[in-house]
Amino acid sequence: MRQLFEYHPVIGYRFIPGVKARVPHEGGGYLMRANGSGFRCRHEFTPTKAPGVQRILLFGDSFTAGEGVSDGQRYGDRLETMIPGIEVFNFGLPGTGTDQHYLAYQEYAAGLEYDALVLGVLVENILRVKARYRIYQNDQGDEVIYAKPYFELDHGRLVLRQSPPPRKPLTEAELPPEERESVDRGGRYHTLRRVVKRLGLRDLAQRLTHYQPYPEYNDPMDPAWLVMQAILTQWIGGQDRPVLLVPIPFYQYVEQTSDPAAYQERFREVAAATGCSLHDPLPDLWRHSQEARRGFRFTRDPHLTAAGHQALAESLAPALSRLLEGVEAGG
């Protein structure tokens, strides 16, 4: 298995520029190729657009980068086939939070010509915004902890911390005790979730308990949400071009085992405050049958299947088209 990522002093890491790989996966494996800037995008990030092309900058995490599916099957690529004349610069980076997406934007995108910005925020990202460390597997398959850059609010102002993040990963034992709670372990009840997952009872348990995976959205004054809100507000507020904010639902919401109302309300508030466009794909996804929706994720891996990406793209395409109407194709 190839090493796919390398250290990046601003974002934490990125794909190794130019790396080409077929990644083994429960779906049969998928093809990925990184561009010269270290993102899984089929376009090089050239500053100037080609005549007649409308350029979209798309930010997000592994759901946007397309973990589990090959290039071409991702919702960003599907949008290119659905809307004539657009090119999507995919800045999706697996395992990252909205904070790191904003840093990637500042590092790589600020100088690019573009027509619209699409922020694909997986609702789970709030955990990563809250976290200062994240667990990854090293090349021996062992779990190690990597520090990440993060923001804190200081009198309402975003302050970047842990930048550049240390290169060297830590083991659990090396982590300072006061930082133990700052590790993103993928949600609450880490050990219990592992046991339930291993027993194959995850779906049933979540349905029965009305599991709410991200309670950070429940309260508009939750500290994690306040940071997330500040990042989005600052990012969107600095734009002079149209922005489409897209909260990407995790499977519990798609399959209606959890109530999305809280996170939907939070994103509506941000959109209202910043004046950006909001597209919530959940109602469109719910129009698919229960069986079809289960097919939007893999058997074990919760990432989107090709069908999931297609459904998301079909939901997004009209909203993006509307956004681009009136934006003159640049040259």
Partner: protein
């Protein structure tokens, strides 16, 4: 019409995958390189993944998936063999049932599980073992037409096939059936001399020049009946493989003076002489078969594959006989090459793709550099991730001069550059290099780098254009598959009396035999790799830099691994092997790492026991 074909071999030894697109070989690799288990016979999921990665293809884009042999025919042979052998074969029958029925009939399921798809046709094609070998030998060869000779232990029922290839057609017209097998005869002696069957055969070949063929007559009189046309029959009274799990039996042991040598024990004159004897028999049969093929087909050229075709001493002998104008041997001649043959058969026979021959007259094997490459950015990401000290020299000429200088100073260099080789030989992409002029180098590299028996010679890489200055060789040998004599003028006299009386191999080994002693075998032969710039400009450039510096166009080239370990594949494998040995310098693409600069290395496994011996 475009056609993309995936070929697979698995479940015997050396499983592999290969990808052919429009008749061009795109990728091929053995599973062992990824799984790090030598001769890995398991389903080649990782190799297959790599082939699709190289072609950047989704499985649904495959026009055909071809498995290299027919499991039902193999089962037929096993069943009939056991029925014939009776009660004594019960254990063998049990094992065969588990092996054949347990895995091999489920090939489709394995592929579907690994890929999630069986390609456009939603099916798997099955070819036959020796047909796949024949295809792997003929289609990539530079010849429009050629006689074909395949020789191995056994594949389904066949052990030897003879035929003719022309353009994209293949016809195998004569066969020798199991249990009469030249490969199994050689393997029986491999086993008897204390080496591992299916992997230690090349050790037996390396041992042969230390012996005298004192048992030649015994073998011919008792074990094998050879006809003038090269066809042969074994006397099964002396072999155990029909009705037991051993290659030989008590009659064989009585014939050769006692029980088999224990692995790792002292190698006596008996083993040396046995090796020399069976090698002579094998060479004789190969030459007779080739003469017969020439008479039958009239073809000007010969191509070969199958495990026996890796016997480069026999290949060299065959070439020097001058029977054919051209000889081409598939560098992955063992079962791994069956994957490539299967893919080529799918392309040319099943999908009617025209055969693509290289317009420059060279072969279509691309130097056998068909495995994964790692871009400089990937190497640097690996080194930075682990904070290993390195020096990057992006200027290729400067870098090659620096490496050549190190070799000239007696340093041992781990060389990792470009796409990994397909087949058992390292050809300058995953190689350990040293100075062939240095009389200490063979022993140093064997004991401190390879950790293996010191009787085995190292092979030379030589500038193709200068090969004739060093070796009596009038043809290219890009795949290290021809053994040739070191030129008379370069030879040094040896103490023949000491040689004749020596019981201990070390007495013989430590005598310098030429001005390139580290690659000159005891019989003044060398297993030559000629390096042509069209196949590997980087490696050719390194040899050229060494020549410019020292006046010598030859260096030692041995595989980048330690004893029992598969050749390294990734930068990570290479670094680990570098640190486990006393190599001085590691070259990872354009980065140079010196052993003395590296931080302490915490090895996570006891590799000396983890890797099985051959």
């Amino acid at each position: 019409m475009s056609a993309t074909v995936l070929g697979l071999s698995a479940f015997y030894h050396d499983s592999a995958a290969a990808l052919v697109q429009d008749g061009e070989i795109i990728a091929a690799a053995q599973e062992e390189r990824f799984s790090r288990k030598k001769h890995d016979p398991r389903f080649p999921a990782r190799a297959l993944n790599y082939c699709l990665e190289e072609g950047f293809l989704d499985p649904a884009e495959l026009d055909a998936i071809v498995f290299y042999d027919n499991p039902l025919l193999t089962w037929d042979r096993v069943l009939k063999n056991c029925l014939q052998a009776g009660e004594s074969a019960w254990e063998q029958f049990n094992q065969a049932c588990r092996s054949v029925l347990g895995i091999k009939v489920w090939v489709r399921d394995y592929i579907r599980a690994a890929l999630g798809s069986l390609g456009r046709a939603d099916r798997v094609l099955f070819t036959e073992h020796h047909l796949a070998h024949a295809a792997s030998a003929f289609y990539p060869s530079p010849f429009e037409a050629a006689a074909i000779l395949t020789l191995d232990g056994v594949g389904e029922w066949e052990t030897t096939t003879l035929g003719l290839g022309r353009d994209r057609t293949l016809e195998l017209s004569q066969v020798i059936h199991y249990p009469h097998s030249l490969g199994l005869l050689y393997s029986a002696f491999t086993y008897f001399c204390g080496f591992k069957v299916n992997s230690g055969e090349y050790k037996l070949m390396g041992l042969a020049p230390y012996g005298e063929p004192r048992y030649y007559r015994t073998i011919r009189d008792h074990l094998i009946d050879v006809k003038p046309d090269g066809s042969f029959r074994l006397n099964l009274d002396y072999f155990g493989y029909l009705d037991s799990n051993y290659m030989t039996n008590a009659a064989f042991h009585d014939l050769f003076g006692g029980p088999p040598r224990q692995p790792e024990s002292f190698i006596t004159r008996r083993e040396r002489d046995l090796a020399a004897s069976v090698q002579q028999v094998l060479e004789e049969v190969v030459v007779l078969l080739a003469r017969h093929l020439k008479r039958e087909t009239g073809a000007p050229n010969l191509v070969m594959a199958g495990g026996v075709a890796l016997n480069c001493v026999a290949n060299g002998k065959l070439w020097r006989e001058g029977i054919f104008e051209g000889l081409w041997v598939q560098p992955a001649s063992g079962d791994a090459g069956g994957a490539l043959g299967a893919a080529l058969l799918g392309a040319h026979i099943y999908l009617d793709q025209p055969r693509r021959r290289n317009p420059n007259g060279r072969d279509g094997q691309k130097g056998s550099y068909l495995g994964p490459a790692y871009q400089p950015a990937e190497v640097i990401a690996f080194l930075e991730r682990h904070q290993y000290p390195y020096e990057r020299i992006s200027d290729g000429e400067v870098r090659l001069r620096r490496i050549a200088q190190a070799i000239a100073e007696g340093k041992v260099v781990g060389y990792f550059a470009g796409r990994m080789e397909f087949g058992p030989r390292a050809l300058g992409a995953r190689s350990i290099l040293g100075d062939a002029r240095n009389p200490e180098m063979q022993s140093r590299m064997n004991l401190k780098i390879k950790f293996r028996e010191s009787f085995r010679p190292f092979a030379p890489s030589v500038l193709a254009e200068e090969a004739g200055n060093y070796f009596d060789l009038d043809v290219e040998s890009p795949y290290m598959l021809l053994v040739a004599p070191v030129r008379e003028a370069r030879r040094l006299p040896v103490d023949a009396a000491a040689y004749a009386q020596a019981e201990d191999l070390r007495t013989i080994i430590n005598q310098a035999r030429s001005d390139i002693p580290a690659v000159t075998h005891v019989d003044y032969s060398a297993r030559v790799q000629t390096v042509h710039p069209a196949d590997n400009p980087d490696y050719h450039g390194l040899l050229r830099a060494f020549k410019d510096l020292t006046g010598c166009g030859v260096i030692i080239n041995t595989s980048f691994n330690v004893r029992g370990e598969p050749i390294v594949c990734s930068p990570q494998d290479a670094y680990r092997c570098f640190r486990r040995t006393q190599m001085d310098l590691l070259v990872l693409e354009d980065c140079l790492l010196w052993q003395q600069d590296q931080p302490p290395f915490a090895d996570t496994e006891d590799w000396k026991t983890a890797y099985e011996l051959d």
